[in-house]
């Protein structure tokens, strides 16, 4: 679907902005918003480009930089901390060879920290794309990365 067709599914009103940005971002392989996307969104919902840029940089789910094919978001809040999120983070950093906010050289994974994912019953938790992976141990982190490297 073209970007114009994606935009056409949304009302031409500022209130449609976040949903439109979500859809535009999803259409890019790099899970990010390009400048052209922001320009298109601004014209479609009738906001100045600066206001669209403002929103796109405020929310943590949007990125203006290209990201990996899979986005790993590890929860960094108190419950997951108590349950040992740091050991999962160490293992993620070691296996991926990247730090927080970075993308692996092969473009497969971007590692991000996030606040509560609302899956605290199985802390510590990360989300890989839209899959919740909980009860994290270094072994579970390894298995999950292998599974995604092999294409699920």
């Amino acid at each position: 679907m073209t970007k114009e067709a994606i935009a056409a599914q949304h009302p031409r009103s500022p209130e449609a902005l976040l949903a439109l940005l979500h859809d535009l971002q999803l259409a890019n392989a790099g899970h990010h918003l390009t400048e052209a996307d922001l320009v298109l969104a601004a014209a479609h919902v009738g906001l100045p480009l600066s206001a669209v840029h403002d929103a796109a940089t405020f929310y943590s789910m949007f990125s203006l930089r290209p990201r990996g094919r899979h986005i790993i978001r590890l929860c960094d809040s108190p419950n997951c901390h108590l349950a040992g999120a740091w050991s999962a983070l160490d293992e993620l950093r070691r296996l991926l060879g990247v730090d927080i906010g970075e993308t692996t050289e092969d473009g497969a994974f971007t590692l991000e920290l996030t606040s509560c994912l609302g899956a605290c019953g199985v802390a510590p938790v990360m989300m890989v794309d839209d899959e919740v992976v909980g009860n994290l141990t270094p072994e579970r982190v390894r298995e999950t990365l292998v599974r995604y490297r092999e294409g699920r």
Binding site: E15, A55, Y59, P78, N79, C116, G121
Partner: protein
């Protein structure tokens, strides 16, 4: 709806997913098909059955038999033995006191109002919601009651908002009803971002129609025709289930231009958030709905008169609105019989941390914290002792063991300078370090501060530096005093509750755990703090 002889309700939540519920579901369906029971037995995916710590749990209804720790092989046995031959499989049954278990027998001393249908019905079927008495309240309200009468029922029930502040819902609705502008909105705040909280997600996933009915009743009472559910963007399943529920209700004429064939019009839309804790604050949420970044507005004016697009707006939490159908259906007297005199009804909690059974429970307002931890959470792991409890999420209070008999309701907690907040209860045993937990709380606030006002933006940053010094053994008496004076300034000067509420965890931690803080002053760091400091040292350059 197809009638079946037996319903197999499989609780699908995060715990079940991790335990491999997909394998059990497919084993059940395969066995049902192979044994030719498809016309008699229905396998239903439902929300959490409310039983934690028992692996994959399923219930066979109407027999009232609950099975726990079910594996795919067990699934086949259950179909062959129970569903084909009528012999319940004793070795897999969840121990209960009654020979035929009602949900209450399994769920212990819970009182379920908001969660009454969760784990009982298929959340993707409006018929099942209706079969439980769903939409009866809305139907009665729009055909037999005046809007003022519905408002009066909610006022008399004494319902208080479950988003954290505990403001009386009826008073909020009255202010919208009497506002001059006839264009009004009902906004449901489902941007659940409080660490430790996932109750609203399980309500949306387990019983979305209950929320929709509550919103429509709110719309009728205040004279609004548009409802919006703002759901956090990470909650994909909640978004999908709510959208599906709206479509079903519109198809039956329960929502739409003529609700129950009356002149009352009410449409509901779902809007996804995009990841910002501050958008749980009502005015930031409204800004976000208008397509802007979520910066809180100055109050007053309040949303009841100047809300979405400057119009009168009801903003209520998911749990608050989900209470409304039962209040209208059973009446304020029924509701007031639950809970305490000043905080009627029930409250949904998430119990987490170092307890045997973590998960979601609903009990009457005023239930002691001790009962929540030891009866519903199953107590601590064997051989462990309790150090303290963080009640109310990251913006909550650290309570020492001497406070275990506090009753959980808005007023009892306020008396002890604590807050019910979102209902998250994080249990800490002696292996946890309160200073380390506080540092995690403060890093959370630094990350989520929206940056609009200086007290919060700079305050959270300085607090993280101070607590880091404390963790590394590089602090003295003055550090604690500094932290307290900073949070007091933030409480007085921050624009919104995000900055104001940092005072609660800091003050209660310092007051309730003095010895632990004293041990961190000047001395070598404790093992917990050292591990965190090492991990943070590695990421020093990218530390946010």
């Amino acid at each position: 709806m197809r009638l079946a002889r037996a319903h197999v309700l499989v609780g699908v939540d995060d715990e079940a997913r991790l335990a491999g519920v997909d394998g059990v579901l497919s084993a059940l369906r395969t066995a049902v098909a192979e044994l030719g029971l498809e016309s008699e037995v229905q396998v239903i995916e439902t929300g959490s059955l409310g039983v934690s710590g028992h692996g994959i749990v399923l219930a066979v209804q109407p027999d009232g038999v609950y099975y726990a720790h079910v594996t795919p092989a067990d699934a086949r046995t259950i179909v062959e033995e129970h569903l084909l031959k009528g012999r319940p499989v004793a070795r897999l049954r969840l121990p209960t006191t009654a020979p035929v278990a009602r949900p209450a027998d399994v769920l212990g001393r819970q009182t379920r109002v908001v969660l009454a249908n969760c784990g009982i019905i298929d959340p993707e079927s409006i018929e099942e919601y209706i079969a439980q008495g769903g939409y009866e309240a809305l139907g009665t309200a729009v055909t037999e009651l005046a809007p003022e009468a519905v408002l009066d029922l909610v006022k008399r029930s004494g319902l208080r908002g479950r988003g954290g502040a505990g403001f009386p819902t009826g008073i909020k609705w009255s202010a919208v009803r009497t506002a001059a502008d006839p264009e009004r909105y009902v906004v449901c705040n489902a941007d659940e971002g409080e660490p430790g909280t996932f109750k609203d997600r399980l309500i949306l996933e387990g019983d979305p129609h209950k929320l929709l009915e509550g919103m429509a009743l709110a719309g009728y009472a205040v004279g609004a025709h548009v409802g919006i559910v703002y759901i956090r963007g990470e909650y994909g399943l909640s978004i999908a289930r709510t959208q599906r529920a709206i479509a079903q209700a519109e198809a039956l004429g329960i929502l739409g231009d003529r609700v129950f064939d009356t002149d009352f019009a009410f449409r509901i839309e779902v809007r996804p958030g995009a990841g910002a804790y501050v958008c749980g604050e009502e005015t930031a949420l409204l800004e976000s709905l208008e397509g802007k970044r979520g910066w809180p507005r100055m109050k007053p004016p309040y949303p009841v008169t100047h809300g979405l697009w400057g119009k009168p707006t009801v903003v209520n939490n998911v749990e608050t609105l989900a209470n409304v159908p039962d209040i209208v259906r059973h009446g304020p007297a029924w509701y007031r019989a639950l809970g305490t005199a000043t905080c009627p009804g029930t409250k949904v909690y998430t119990i987490l941390g170092n307890v045997r059974y973590s998960g979601l429970v609903e009990v009457e307002m005023g239930t002691p914290l001790r009962a929540l931890i030891y009866e519903l959470g199953g107590g601590l792991l064997p051989g462990r002792s309790l150090k303290g409890v963080l009640v109310g999420g990251a913006a909550g209070a650290f309570l020492p063991t001497s406070e275990l008999d506090v009753r959980l309701d808005f007023d009892s907690l306020a008396e002890r300078a604590a807050a019910l907040g979102s209902g998250a209860v994080l249990v800490l045993d002696e292996s946890a370090c309160v200073v380390d937990m506080l540092s995690s709380v403060l890093r959370f606030f630094r990350h989520e501060s929206c940056g609009q006002c200086a007290p919060c933006r700079s305050g959270t940053d300085v607090l993280v530096r101070l607590v880091s010094a404390l963790q590394c053994g590089q602090a003295d008496d003055r550090t604690l005093n500094q932290m307290v004076s900073i949070v007091d300034a933030m409480r007085a000067a921050s624009l919104c509750p995000l900055g104001q509420s940092v005072a609660l965890p800091v003050r209660t931690a310092v007051a309730g755990f003095r010895d632990e803080f004293a041990a961190h002053l000047g001395g070598p760091p404790c093992a917990r703090c050292e591990a965190t400091a090492v991990a943070r040292g590695v990421r020093a350059t990218t530390d946010r």
